[in-house]
Amino acid sequence: MNEENEILLLKGNEAIARAAIRCGCDGYFGYPITPQSEVLETLAELKPWETTGMVVVQAESEVASINMLYGGGGTGKRVMTSSASPGIALMQEGISYMAGAEVPGLIVNVQRGGPGLGTIQPSQSDYNQATRGGGNGDYNVIVLAPASVQEMADFVDLAFTLAFRWRTPVMMLSDGVIGQMMEKVVLPPFKPRRTEEEIAKECPWASNGHGIKERGPQVITSLELQPDIMEVRNIALQKKYKEIAEKEVRYETRHMEDADYAIVAFGSAARISQKAIEIAREKGRNAGLFRPITLWPFPEKEIAELSKQVKGILVVEINAGQMVFDVRLAAEGRVPVEQYGRLGGIVPSPDEIVDALMKLP
């Protein structure tokens, strides 16, 4: 476990579990659901409570999992959970409380198709829920979209860094493709869990008893019955979100330098679109890929710039058309913005995407 840069062949779900142990995660709380159960299974097999002291709890429901996250995060610990779409829907109450009480934590959504029980096959149809807050009230969570097993591993530590920097829940919006596929992964370097003193220093707001005689009692709450005070709290939250939007946008581009057309896609749809771009270029259509890594904050300025460079944009997403609205807002009608997606757990092939790309005017 202590070897630096351990290289393994792993499923995305396994990579998340191993990365969590290596990057100083204090606790995982989860409930089995396909297609993400390997996260909890891997942790149970590796028994990190015997090595790093990381706590692993199988909760009685996703509702309990997210509230364990709320409780643990409120004490200043690095805590995470993972689930898949129907389970994430159940967690929205707790995520809203965490956002309101400004509690950090990592929620991994290995998406499957819906609505309802839907399917256990991959989907990206929780984009709207993830990027619009998802629960009650005015809030956002930072949403990271990994496109490889490597990023599943890398984004665990990044998510914790962002969660504590901004005192906010962070969601890793993955999907059944990335969660289940196996790739070579360079695991992150080992980082010890923080000591009580380090937690007190990093999280002066935490509710864990430490230093109460000097600082006075600390309360983690989203409640305030006085509307004038509650409005001030809401305004402060919105100010924070604006600052996050200015500072934390992440994205990646491929072959955009000479591109006449752009595909905008995230996660596994971006992986498939890479191949589609190669085929399209062979057919004489110079296309490039723009991949948002943060879905919230959304790279709207960058897409606005892109819309000045290209003749048309194809948004590829494994849903009925969700991110396409954000892209259209950013493009402001400068160029046609079309969407291509498949539903019900069907993953589009590169050829289908090429066909859609060739149809752009």
Binding site: Y70, G71, E93, N208, G209, T221
Partner: protein
């Protein structure tokens, strides 16, 4: 002898608990919550655990418990306090972790969280205020409302054919392997208050000794919800509540071993 001569530290027989602050409580006259808050504040102080305690407050009348007792708190979503407490205790094993919940929070919306935290044997204490009614929202039927009892949502009395039966959570908790101590107490008289304090202390100590989970139910009054004066509410509780909610220890793993 002048009054000033008598008021001296050596003559002190009683004082307000150090951890109970001067914030004006929002509870109605005659409500049991204030007494239970006082007992918790006393026990934490006497155990010397102020800087090692995490309290989890509920949704319901106890929602503002965090305003009155000077320890660190977290305010849970309705019914979820035992989930928060589970994480706090697992991540901070040397902390005294307890939840403070009403009957709606614990026995209706949070039944799953409560039973599973207790059954996992989490080393926490659940303080459970059972006044058989929803106080905060204005007197609606609770899972613990007695048969025939009138509330805003069963104005003709609780009819099991329509509303089902009152739920006895402590009896359920006592059946669970994870529980160390399950007791039912009340705070309507001085002897009852003394016994309730002893029970809270015992529960807190067992949780710190890692014996398992602990449930301290307090059969309580809600004079506003019951539409009775504080004195009459106490009498009504003795006459009606204790017949169904029997006061006493239901389970104590330390007693069994003796």
């Amino acid at each position: 002898m002048k009054r000033e001569d008598i008021i001296q530290p050596e003559n002190l027989v009683y004082e307000k608990p150090k951890l109970l602050n001067d914030m004006t409580m929002h509870y109605c006259p005659g409500c049991s919550h204030g007494v239970v808050h006082k007992l918790i504040a006393e026990v934490i102080d006497e155990m010397g655990m102020q800087d090692h305690s995490i309290g989890i407050s509920p949704v319901g009348c106890g929602v503002f418990a965090y305003r009155y007792i000077d320890i660190d708190w977290q305010e849970a979503a309705h019914g979820r306090a035992p989930a928060l407490a589970t994480a706090c205790k697992r991540l901070w094993p040397d902390r005294l972790v307890f939840t403070y919940q009403g009957d709606g929070d614990l026995a209706a919306i949070g039944t799953a969280e409560t039973i599973h935290a207790l059954n996992r044997g989490e080393n926490i204490t659940i303080i459970y205020i059972n006044n058989a009614i929803y106080g905060m929202t204005g007197g609606q039927m609770a899972p613990t409302t007695l048969e025939g009892m009138k509330t805003a949502t069963c104005p003709y009395g609780r009819d099991p054919q329509i509303h089902g039966y009152p739920l006895n959570m402590s009896e359920i908790a006592a059946q669970l392997q994870g529980t160390a101590f399950v007791t039912r107490q009340s705070v309507h008289s001085v002897p009852a208050i003394r016994k309730a304090k002893k029970a809270i202390r015992h529960a807190f100590e067992l949780s710190m000794q890692g014996k398992g989970s602990n449930l301290v139910e307090i059969v309580a009054t809600c004079s506003s919800g019951w539409k009775l004066s504080p004195v009459k509410a106490n009498q009504w509780m003795e006459q009606h509540m204790f017949d169904f909610y029997h006061v006493g220890d239901l389970k104590d793993v330390t007693a069994e071993k003796q």
